[in-house]
Assembly symmetry: C2
């Protein structure tokens, strides 16, 4: 395979690039007055053997820089030495871009970029295949900085590699209003950044999703004569990520799936915000990953052991049936004489004095934000290389298209995100005569209908497939041996599941991941769902058992505050369909919203197919289901969602019998309703009608918005209970009788 030899190829390219730029005299830097004599040429033999528990050697970088450094000159050619000198200079360029940007912003995290610059350089300059002028080229290698606080590492690399999104001006605007270099990597701000990271552990789980997407698409579309899908996913994660449960969830399932093209670098720097990791994190991480089914490698000197890093990557690529964790022991803030290897370098600017000392220590005579000419020149080849990589791939795809027409069309749809014309015709519709059914079952009908027309639909449940009703019947399980299939078995790993789906969604615009658990367990995955919303990943969250209607399992399993908690979250759609047509409508909305995730709250219990519900209604978020008034002035407006819309309809029937004019409104998606015109909203919920009652088996908070000061919200402002569902509904007063009583009091 082409990819597995890319290190050597890249190294060869490095050699060429260096020799083509001739003189290396610039590598010998001027020694500032009072500084340490240090040349970047000599720097390459700066080795620092470091034990895993390295307290005795805390000052290693500075000590080493002061020590005499013997050279075994005979064994290496001058050219190789010059190449490594250039590498070291590139690495220091990355370090000082980070140092200077954080210093100017007086805010940020210099420690990680200083420690991880070597692996960053090797990845972006020697290993990864990408096209800086098209950050969205489909077959690019993906890189995720799970330890997102160290984002200046990534910005420096994107800048050197020639991405238009990170100009020098952007780096100077680090962490400022409106800049493309925010305080944590945001895919929607900075092309070249694949996913939004920062909340620890999310990134590595996103990377599992990216690698799953590659594995799945490769299995579906590659042919013996044309491996059209073929790239790696690289991730850097730190001690913080490693401690987070989500990382263990995602890495456990990645090991199960055997995602061989996922290569993770664990920045083992032994420092977190509260100090040495000895105070809270003494497990054997590599042994844990062995247990999770990963291949593990330890690079003991991540600071200057460049060849060890390169060899580790080669080894990782050679292991094709397991993901690889490369534990790279580094020094946080490497190069800072007084702050390296301490928490003080993690999340604050070094300060002018320490910046100077670091410049002296690393032999860096340049002004802030300087990229030496030979470094610019060296990196400049990536623009041309990237263009030719993409061109090669385009040619390969053209061949593929000729030979495998149907597959090519499907892959194209996945790459472009274009939905097949008329896809929405696949959505099932229902009449009031259709059999009553739980919306979770209706959801399954929709998923299975959509699976036939949407090539990018795939997903599954956190070990509740038979309860969430999420199996795609025409497909098998995505497993190590059958990665072309589309039913994903996430195990009981809700948080990892959400973040993996974010990775899938952001891999290709046409991938539509869905995932499922009980609605109450969105609490387990809320951080990942929030990232979906923030990073514009159109994941479909299929959340069943959406109320006390689940009955006997009791309050731990009965959501109460969950609807409102998602309605308050920006850029996400909270949909609670009432029956078949509304469930179809919810899916239509969810599929169309590719930059906004959707949460579907679905019933465990059977619900009748209501008269007046419609897909179009759902698209407006709120609409009139039934009304016996005229002139937009009913005596009473009843509002409901999901399983309680039926109760509102029943109460309306009763009240109409007493001569009242009653309107029933479905408020299936508040966010969509709020986006409608004022005229439309007034036509549904006229301000002049003050007798408004809502009913929903959840917290009443928030409903004041629609029922107004003179209306009444019927709901549940306590925890649920363990009993048969009907009994709980009655005891909690979620009944037509409650509505009728309330109506009389208004």
């Amino acid at each position: 395979m082409a990819a597995s030899s890319s290190v050597n190829a890249a190294q060869a390219i490095v050699g060429l690039a260096v020799s083509s730029h001739g003189s290396h005299s610039a590598d010998r830097v001027a020694v500032p007055a009072g500084g340490f004599a240090l040349s970047s040429l000599a720097g390459r033999s700066l080795t620092c053997s470091r034990s895993p528990r390295f307290q005795q050697q805390r000052r290693c970088p500075r000590q080493a820089s002061r020590a005499a450094r013997p050279r075994a000159a005979a064994v290496e050619t001058l050219e190789a030495a010059a190449t490594e000198a250039l590498v070291e200079k590139s690495i220091n360029t990355i370090r000082f871009l980070a140092i200077d940007a954080v210093e100017k912003a007086n805010s940020g995290h210099p420690g990680l970029p200083m420690g991880c610059a070597p692996m960053g350089h090797i990845l972006y300059d020697e290993v990864m295949r990408y096209n800086p002028k098209n950050p969205y080229w489909f077959n690019r290698d993906r890189f995720v900085l799970s330890a997102g606080h160290g984002c200046m590492l990534q910005y420096a690399l994107l800048h050197l590699a020639g991405y238009d999104s990170v100009q020098m001006e952007d780096i100077k605007q680090f962490r400022q209003w409106g800049s493309r270099t925010p305080g944590h990597p945001e895919n929607f701000e900075t092309p070249g950044v694949e996913v939004t990271t920062g909340p620890l552990g999310q990134g590595v789980a996103n990377a599992v999703g990216l690698a799953l997407a590659e594995r799945h698409l490769a299995a579906r579309f590659n042919k013996p004569d044309n491996e059209i899908v073929d790239h790696y996913t690289y991730v850097i994660l730190g001690d913080g990520c490693q401690m987070e449960g989500i990382a263990n969830e995602a890495c456990s399932i990645a090991g199960h799936w055997g995602l061989g093209k996922l290569i993770a670098f664990y920045d083992d720097n032994h420092i977190s915000i509260d100090g040495d990791t000895e105070i809270a994190f003494t497990e054997d991480v590599s042994a844990r990953f062995d247990a999770l089914g990963w291949h593990t490698i330890w690079v003991k000197n991540g600071n200057t052991g460049y060849d060890d890093i390169r060899a580790a990557i080669r080894e990782a690529k050679a292991v094709k049936d397991k993901p690889t964790l490369i534990k790279v022991t580094t020094t946080i803030g490497y190069g800072s004489p007084n702050k390296a290897n301490s928490y003080s370098v993690h999340g604050s600017a070094l300060g002018a004095k320490e910046v100077d000392a670091t410049r002296q220590n690393l032999g860096w005579p340049y002004e802030p934000f300087h990229v030496p000419e030979e470094i610019k020149s060296h990196w400049s080849r990536h623009v041309a290389e990237g263009a030719s990589l993409e061109a090669e791939w385009n040619a390969k795809f053209a061949e593929y298209e000729k030979k495998y027409k149907e597959d090519a069309a499907e892959l194209k749809a996945i790459v472009s995100g274009e939905l097949p014309a008329g896809w929405e015709k696949a959505l099932p519709t229902y009449t009031p005569e259709s059999p009553a059914d739980a919306t979770r079952n209706l959801s399954q009908q929709n998923l299975n209908a959509l699976a036939k027309v949407l090539p990018g639909l795939l997903g599954g449940s956190a070990d509740l497939a038979s309860s969430n009703m999420t199996l795609l019947k025409m497909f098998g399980d995505f497993q190590k041996g059958t990665p072309e299939e589309r039913n994903v078995r996430f195990g009981v790993r809700e948080h990892g599941m959400g973040a993996i789906c974010n990775g899938i969604a952001l891999h290709s615009p046409g991938l539509l991941p869905y995932c499922a658990t009980f609605f109450v367990f969105t609490d387990y995955m809320r951080a990942a769902i929030r990232i979906s919303a923030l990073c514009e990943a159109g994941v479909i969250y299929v959340m069943t058992h959406d109320s006390i209607g689940l009955g006997e399992d009791g309050p731990t399993h009965q959501p109460i505050e969950h609807l409102i908690s998602f309605r308050a979250m920006p850029n996400i759609l909270m949909l609670r369909p009432a029956d078949g047509n509304e469930t179809a409508g919810a899916y239509k909305v969810a599929v169309l919203n590719r930059k906004r995730p959707s949460v579907l709250a679905l019933s465990r219990q059977k619900l009748p197919q209501l008269a007046g519900t419609s897909i179009e209604g759902v698209e407006k978020g709120g609409y009139i289901v039934s009304d016996n008034s005229s002139g937009n002035k009913p005596d009473l407006i009843l509002m409901g969602t999901g399983s309680e819309l039926e109760i509102a309809a029943k109460a309306a029937d009763e009240l109409r019998k007493t001569g009242k004019t009653v309107r029933v409104v479905s408020l299936v998606c508040w966010e969509l309703f709020e986006e409608q015109s004022d005229e439309y909203k007034e036509s549904v919920l006229p301000a002049a009608v003050t007798a408004k009652i809502s009913i929903e088996a959840g917290a009443t908070l928030g409903w004041e918005k629609y029922v107004g000061g003179k209306g009444k919200a019927i709901g549940i402002d306590r925890f649920g209970a363990s009993a048969p569902a009907g009994r709980i509904y009655k005891e909690f007063g979620i009944t037509a009788d409650s509505i009728i009583t309330a109506a009389k009091s208004l």
Copy 2:
């Protein structure tokens, strides 16, 4: 130590109990027509060697029951055999109580109780020290069923052990409205249940908290001549728990802390809801726990290898510096001929036919809900034994009290939960002249003041101690070697942290755990916080960096929807203090609410000490901070919380200069305000005043409740941004100018 020999003691007692009840003829059961010949005496040699990947042996229980079972009769005495027969009968009693209760409810989870009955029996009958007539006896061993769906196991055990909370009538009312046997174990419903479990992974993390509490209290209070604190924490967790990230978080830190008296049974039954765990969970769990620093043991035959289970517990107790994981390979639904070892037995009633078949297979001739007399008689000793265990301990405490008066008083306060008289006088107060400060710093002043007067206050941060400002300066770190200290270093494990604090809070009424992270990362621990609220654990959540005011870290770190999402959660107090007095008030409320957790949202940035704020005001949830009107009819009411109360005060000053009467109201805790009398609420927010404006740096949803239909809520209904805080406030319009503009428009 007394505890480490308790197995032998208990076994001796078993022997006594058996021989005192004479005839064992009842052990030989009648073989029903058409059934398999099976006696519970013979059953004890029913062994089933099972490989970890045991697909070939799926039918093991049934096959074994059909096979001829040779006996090595010569090596055992008749009495020992009779004892084991009684044990087997007791285990089958547990199994059938679970089967029958689930059957009657037609809802529930029989599979786990059937598989785990042996370990359940051994724990409650042979190993654990408890007093059934006082489930709250301080020095009892704690048991947590982390796989809470299997709660019929626990109810059966509590019933047999003689707890008043689980009478036979309660078992018959399993999962019914108002019963004491809800669908998952709830500590607030069923005395004897230590914690609320069901959401997977929570229980094992609670158990870590319980074990931490024991370790801490033992280190603080035990004397060479009087080990007044001395008990174990046992937990059963299943495959589902093991997959959850929270379990790995909690077990990683438990390994770090070396909690030797924590003994976990991993019910390794290879089945989860979606089928065989082979489809999603193939990691080497024991190897992972080795890596986490645990001692691990494997009981290969958990179905009938009673002695292996006993030996494992002895071994676990002998390892004092590490927690122990006993992997117990079991068959889910053991005894059910057609459903054992399949997902179908996990979460549904067996059905009448299969119940009959299971009765035949296990040789159980009794009607439903029958406890054989010899089993009743055998278990009956626990009432007397428990009483004497407690009496012994009381005597021991009386000695302790004589000799160590001060320690005894402190321990008594922790055991009883009684707060020291006048503790609230320790709370700091402030005047408008006190220096401006961030409420996170003011929080630290409160924590340190309270640490001097509250013996049970302990806690810490998820690796953000220096940002959350949570260190208790008079104490060191709770660590393996210094467990008497009170600063807990949780590492970057928010979810585990919350659940561990629930365990600490529920260990003893006088333990007051607090824990901290950035407010936005409540998303990581929301499931644990919800359990705090549900299970009435008065944990104090110290959540700093509570808004866009944190600035450059950007939208991943800036909470928006979080305030409203906790305001909607039942039984929890969401407090957002504005300055020093309000922070002190928040702590007063949090300490007093021992059955309701509190979330304190605190600022990163400095805030002035405002005129008019008070502790008493906070206790009312909402109150008037300033007003220049009379007759409860101001022209305008401005409401704010936290860092925006200052902005409201400034706007009021400006508006008053124009001749308006303006009231400023702090709505620091909505839940407390709602609990006030209607008169009080009207005195603060008169309905007749419709010009009401709220300002809060978070989602506006929910504020309609207070500003009404004609008011205006100023807030943030989008994600945040990365920039200096002042700039974001201005760009988002969270300013006095916005209030003034809104006021003019009203």
